[in-house]
Amino acid sequence: MKKRQERTKSKQSSHGAPPPKISPDEVKPAQKWEAETPEASAQVECESEELPKIDEETKVVLLPVNPYLVHVYWGIAANDLEEIARVLRRVGPRAQPVLRFYDVTQADVDATSAPSWFEVEIDLRAGNWYVHLESPGKSYCLDLGLRTEGGGFQPLARSNVTETPRAWPSDKVEESYLLVEEDSPPVATAVPPGEPAEEGQAPAVPVSADEQYGGEEKELERQERTHFRTFAPGKMERIIAELYGQRRREWSGLASKAGGTDDPQPSGKERADLTELSERSFRTGLASSRKSP
């Protein structure tokens, strides 16, 4: 469907039309089949109706759009509306509906420190809001609530946690490896360049902080994975040696531009950065508006 948008011819509704005139005479089996099916006469329902209002509970949901933009939608249940009205009656029109964003990127590292937060003023009736953010690659959750004079805050609902996408390559260059083969659990290994790993020294695979996916299954999976497969003697060494055997040679030279058609020789002795190279080429592609909607 990628390029569908290029199609400029207008498409119109095909509702409620009389049977077609068909001239070819070789279509009897198809027509027969169709004439016998009840489907063609089935009623179309549910198309003219509007979707229901769905505020049976007060909730707020946070969705990432891109590294610098998130979308928030909310709904307020009827009984909470009464509560809001009470608050407003008490504190007057100075109560301001806000989205209070918490940066929880580091929350798993140090659970004792309170996450930093900032607020965005909203119009509660809008039902949704787009919020521009300054730094990409962060985890956020937020409270929908009312800020009252004197710094009070009346939360109405808390959102899910979401991550915004990263906008550039990571600076973290730590290398660890997995060996995944048919019918065997993955085997983790951390291999500093140039040094063969020793058997049994496989540190745990880094596991993402996102706990929503996996849950219990993930725990099971992790337990399974601790039963690391034992290698035939020397196998890991051999694989690692193959993997790193050429590296010393290889890093001694890399084309400054590997995607090109014109750069004939690897240039110089600088260390290769294929990620930077791919990233640069990718950005060029974006700039040339490959797939604009």
């Binding site: 469907m1 569908r4 948008q5 039309a17 005139k21 068909i22 070819p24 279509v27 198809a30 089949w33 169709e34 489907e39 089935a42 329902e45 549910c46 198309e47 109706e49 979707l51 229901p52 969705l63 759009v65 891109n66 939608y73 787009y130 996408p165 990263r166 390559p169 990571s170 730590e174 290398e175 660890s176 490896y177 997995l178 995944v180 083969e181 048919e182 993955p186 880094p206 993402s208 996102d210 996916y213 299954e217 999976e221 690692i240 050429q246 290889e250 030279g253 995607g259 090109g260 290769a272 950065d273 294929l274 930077e276 791919s278 990233e279 080429s281 990718f282 592609g285 974006l286 604009s292």
Partner: protein, 523 residues
Amino acid sequence: MAKGYLAIVFHAHLPFVRHPEHQDSLEENWFYEAVTEVYIPLLLVLEGLLEDGLDFRLTFSFTPTLAAMLLDPFLQSRYLRRLERLIALAEKERARTALQPEIHRLACLYHQRFLRVRDAFLHRYDRNLVAPFRRFQDLGKIEILGSAATHAYLPLLSVNASAVQAQIRTGIEYYEQVFGRRPKGFWLPECGYFPGVDRVLWQQGIRFTILETHGLTRAEPRPKRGVYAPIYCPSGVAAFARDPESSRQVWSSVEGYPGDYDYREFYRDIAYDLDIDYLRPYVHQDGIRIDTGIKYYRITGKTNHKEPYVPEWAENKAEIHAGNFIFNRQKQVEHLASAMDRKPLIVAPYDAELFGHWWYEGPAWVNQVVRKMARHQDSIRLLTLSEYLEEYPLNQVATPAMSSWGYEGFNDVWLNGSNDWIYRHLHRAAKLMEKLLQRQSPPGHLTLRALAQAKRELFLAQASDWAFMINSGAMAEYATRRTKRHLLRFYRLSEQIQNHGVDERQLRGWETQDNIFSSSPLL
């Protein structure tokens, strides 16, 4: 010996556009056009390669919605009727153009071509176009990836883990049913990746997936080999990524091959040039001009002035472009091989629809690429992604970055002011579905049917295509209608199940209309 590898991936997808409730459906035409212009021509290219004894490797992702339509007897019958209509039009064109030699020759070519397509559809494949793809996979020539049930954009469904799991599980179960084995690879719809989805894939036995370039270049920790080798997600699923260079050469409407002036002009269809009374029996029954597929002109240049198409020039250009593509990949691989500790891999995914539909000469280009690679060079070799992992089972571990292959590379296309209203419903419905499945113990036969249909409606509402079309504007009305229709049917069924009052007659109607996965164990 090969210095590096190339994996060409065709992403074959169409949304589920089956409208038995209409005598003539405009949207079903997308499917009919794709069969005539893309799937049968590509299959015939593969057959030719096989008959000529070429050892090739190509990758296809086949979405369940497309496979379900290809296997649907109702759509097969309608397709045939449509094809017959086209053949009749081509015959009439031969007569009409008799005094214009340049055009007449093309009319004859179209006529022959449509007859060949009919022969393949009816006799060679006995109406079933999934079976030959399965055969090519069983022969080891192609690898077919699985995909999500209805091409849902998973990053925006991820607030309901159950929705993501159901899309993936049902997609894979359907694949197994259709292709007779479980897939090793999985095509994330729109290349939409979010950290964590790989764990669901791993639990379903998936070994690899393909991301847009920056899904890998922005992975953490930083990948050592850019996009020229996969990484393993912490779950164990390998993530390959698209090579931007090879994509651009084929994809870009500005720099890409398909824009060459010798190639056929897509937008100049006889449907818009000829008198409506002449066309009437062959276009939409309401007299709406829709593409016939008969197009006599080449791109010619940047203006609206178009010259007649010259098939020999176009074929020649496809061959030149195939040679150019291989040459560039060779150069790329040579550079990369000097910088890597292993053979570099170039992953080149494209929408299958580009080949033959948008780019008429696309299948000829594929044919030439495979033949030239096999016969005229040995520095680069085609392979499947599974083969790559067999050769290199040890890979760096990193968590890919959230990414997609949509405009700007994130969620913008599927989440903006035009289509954001969808998500509160999709999220609510997914949660409702969870509740419905927990409540029923033990449900009766009718309730089971209603539950399965509710799940179908939810799946169909979740298709990324609707948000995409609403965003692009061109098909917004239809896409909005489809989204509402499936959500409303879902809500209605959900109420009926909860109130123990399933309307059997209504249910039967919806089962026959929205009949995807009708033979799958959905619950």
